[in-house]
Amino acid sequence: MSTPVTVKPMAEPVVVGRGPSLADRLTSFMPVIALLALLTALTIADPDFLTRRSLTAAAFTAAPLIVLAAGATLVVLCGGIDLSIAAMASLSTVFLALWLPDLGAFATPAVIGVAALFGAVQGAAHVLLRIPSFIVTLGGMSIFSAVALVVSDAGTVPVVDDSAISWLNLYVATYIPMSVAVAVIVVVAISLVIKATPLQSWVRATGYSESAARLAGIPVDLVKIGAFCVSGACAGLAAVMLVSRNFSGNPSMADNLLLPAVAAIVVGGTAITGGHGSLWRSLTGALVVTLLRVGLPIVGVPSAWEQILYGAIIVAAVALTLDRSKVLIIK
């Protein structure tokens, strides 16, 4: 049915609201600026920093962080938060280390699949039970840690034969570590899938205004469960990377990656209120955070400051990117 409708235009201003201001634009480029500034500063502080060895080391550190942050970014874009990613990754390292001897090459997809399933369960609990995402994932974090402790008997599970996952330690084009390449491929792949399908507008609409999205007939519940599922899968993949580097699984191996991952997301400029942001931003954020991690010792700052810095960065970055028009009362 085509509806021939003609309406006489009215004389009124075309645009009412203001466009993005200069400050807004600057803020949106902040992650890139920060990345370049950090690189410059580190190069000045230590001219050897720009050598292949230290860059490679930095890249290896960055890979699991990029993957973790990229997955959780989807959840944040939908307006939620996933605090369980680090515990999920830790649990996955234990699973991987335990399953490698039996499953070999199939252990990797199995671990990622299980992590995705756990993620989806959290998403379903959030959506169906109407529990705030941070409390579901906080509970999830606690449960995953407990499971990891129990199945590993609270110890490190060594990996004797790592042939099934050692490919992650190879290099692409002799310079780029495979794990970094995989991390970037993951970001590209997820971004492309979202961009090319209606998911882009579904995810953003869900994050910006969930009720409007629902009333527009968007499958909000499925979108959110999917986001948690991808977040879990990414945590599983990050675990594979960690095991390939450490040759073992441990129930707390990735626990200290939660703060850096959250920091990467918010430093990248993804708004914690949802809707605004992208996986690319989290990739940049993860690189910034990695440079801080490897850079602080170079400039002679004790690593204890790292934590303090994460704390300050998280608060500052959230304050900069928060969409205050959305929440009148901030709890």
């Binding site: 006489k8 009124e12 075309v14 645009v15 609201g17 209606p198 609409a205 527009a216």
Partner: protein, 520 residues
């Protein structure tokens, strides 16, 4: 717009200065003139009624009086002295307080705490609560209105009427602040009260007159005439007149509120001849019940606009949302073109060709920061996709075609929708349901709310065009006038049930008063 009624009452020179006076109040929101030169006088020890249609500017006026809205122009005088009210606290300092329509009590505190909240005085010393003193203070206030509520009862255990008494007691605390007789504004205080409770409230209002001035706002004109001394009427943000209640009947007030009754041609009366052989209705609703509505029967034919009217709590909004699967139902059957309509969620409704335009456009209707193109194509994926992928070219040409067809004024399709004017935003929201070409039933919840007259008229024209093309429409209109102008048939709801149905063909339209009778 011309004013048809001269001010019917000469302002009798008051013996004393008015308690509150407003001159030339103007407030513009983007695209809307909420207040356009309002004058108002509240004498001391008087109950002034304030009447007006929805959107006449009553809310904005009241908010201005308590400092919640800053007027663009105009002056406010309290006891002859010009004041600037920047916050509700400043208003209270000048002796103006308001009992809000949606009650403003903290539910989990005691009545006593609510009454003294923000001005505890001797009730709190150095941060420590003196429960005895607090109860005494509250009791004093409750005594003023002769209420027997236990001051230490938790507010959420009180009945609605009791909570309203607590609010009145709370508002009267401003006496202590300003040391003058207060001006108490009651915003639609009766809308959810039972008739017995209303009587109690009226007793209170009359009691208040002894030591305060009252501004009483209500949709029910008989109540206004019952309890007030004088009534001021607003229309389209302007004061259109005042009447003494003596010798006035509701019809007089209503005429003033709606202005000229014969000028509804801008609603574009239905011109299409409906075929006589009645086909099966497009939408049939049988004994549908939900949270706030019961046993609703409703038929809507293709090409028909059915307006559902009713006062607060009539359940019509929930009914409308329920038909879109956005509100749970407990019983009943709904069919669309003979097939059962799945009400379990919004997706099923969308797939069946039902569209919904929510009243809260900015919160529920659109995704503000997203582009016009994305907002327009959120629902109908087939229209913009080839296979599972979005085809940018297909989307662009589709969106541009509809921007053109509906004359949506936007720099381009990539502009964030929140930057458009309200009328154009609404057109994008409407277009969302049209781009798929499969729209069969449109549910319009106050589609013209907050729009100026020009934009309204465009939306009317669009609705008319759609119905001429066979779309069935359920309309919750902004005003009775709008409902009468647009609808082919009007369903009146009252207390969650369908009270009556009124045919509304071109040339034989009912008057608003015919409907009001059934609504209350």
């Amino acid at each position: 717009m011309s004013i048809d009624f001269d001010k019917q009452v000469e302002r009798t020179a008051p013996a004393r200065v008015p308690a509150l006076e407003v001159r030339g109040l103007v407030k513009h929101y983007p695209g809307v003139k909420a207040l356009d030169g309002v004058d108002l006088v509240v004498h001391q020890h008087e109950v002034l009624g304030l009447a007006g249609e929805n959107g006449a500017g009553k809310s904005t006026l009241l908010k201005t009086l308590v400092g919640l809205v800053k007027p663009d122009h105009g002056e406010i005088y309290v006891r002859g002295e010009r004041v600037r009210l920047r916050s509700i606290v400043e208003a209270a300092d000048h002796g103006i307080g308001m009992v809000f329509q949606e009650q403003s009590l903290v539910p989990n505190l005691t009545a006593a705490e609510n009454i003294v909240l923000g001005s505890e005085g001797p009730g709190v010393r150095r941060g420590i609560y003196r429960w005895d003193a607090m109860r005494r203070l509250a009791q004093e206030q409750l005594d003023k209105i002769a209420s027997h509520i236990d001051p230490l009862a938790r507010t959420d255990t009180l009945s609605f009427a009791d909570r309203q008494m607590v609010e009145i007691a709370k508002v009267l605390r401003i006496e202590q602040r300003s040391q003058h007789p207060p001006v108490v504004i009651l915003d639609e205080p009766t809308s959810v009260l039972e008739s017995k409770e209303i009587e109690t409230l009226f007793t209170q209002v009359r009691r208040l007159r002894e030591f305060a001035s009252v501004v009483f706002v209500s949709h029910r004109l008989d109540e206004i005439l019952d309890v007030c001394d004088r009534v001021a009427v607003l229309r389209n943000g302007e004061s259109v007149g005042e009447v003494q209640v003596a010798g006035t009947v509701p019809a007089d007030l209503h005429r003033m509120m709606i202005g000229s009754t014969g000028s509804d041609d801008h609603y574009h009366d239905n011109v299409v001849e409906r075929s006589d052989e009645a086909p099966a209705p497009r939408l049939t609703v049988r004994r549908l019940s939900g949270r706030t509505f019961r046993d609703v029967d409703l038929d809507v034919h293709a090409g028909e606009i059915v307006a559902v009217v009713g006062v607060h709590g009539s359940g019509r909004e929930d009914l409308c949302r329920a038909l879109f699967g956005a509100e749970p139902t407990t019983a009943g059957e709904v069919t669309l073109d003979g097939k059962p309509l799945d009400l379990s969620g919004t997706r099923a409704a969308c797939a069946a060709g039902v569209g919904y335009v929510p009243a809260e456009r900015k919160v529920e209707g659109m995704v503000g920061p997203m582009s016009v193109a994305d907002n327009m194509t959120l629902t109908k994926q087939k229209a913009r996709c080839s296979g599972p992928l979005v085809s940018p070219r297909k989307q662009a040409s589709l969106v541009d075609r509809w921007i053109d067809r509906l004359s949506i004024r936007t720099p381009n399709r990539g502009t964030a929708i929140q930057r458009l004017s309200g009328g154009n935003q609404q057109k994008v929201v409407l277009a969302r349901w049209l781009v798929g070409g499969d729209i069969r039933l449109l549910l319009l919840d106050h589609p013209t709310r907050g729009l100026d007259i020009g934009a309204r008229s465009e939306v009317y024209r669009l609705m008319r065009e759609l119905s001429n093309n066979g779309v069935a429409t359920v309309l919750l209109a902004d005003s009775l006038e709008e409902a009468i102008g647009l609808a082919d048939r009007i369903v009146v709801m009252s207390d969650g049930r369908v009270a009556t149905e009124v045919a509304c063909p071109a040339g034989a339209k009912p008057t608003p008063l015919d409907l009001v009778k059934e609504m209350v």
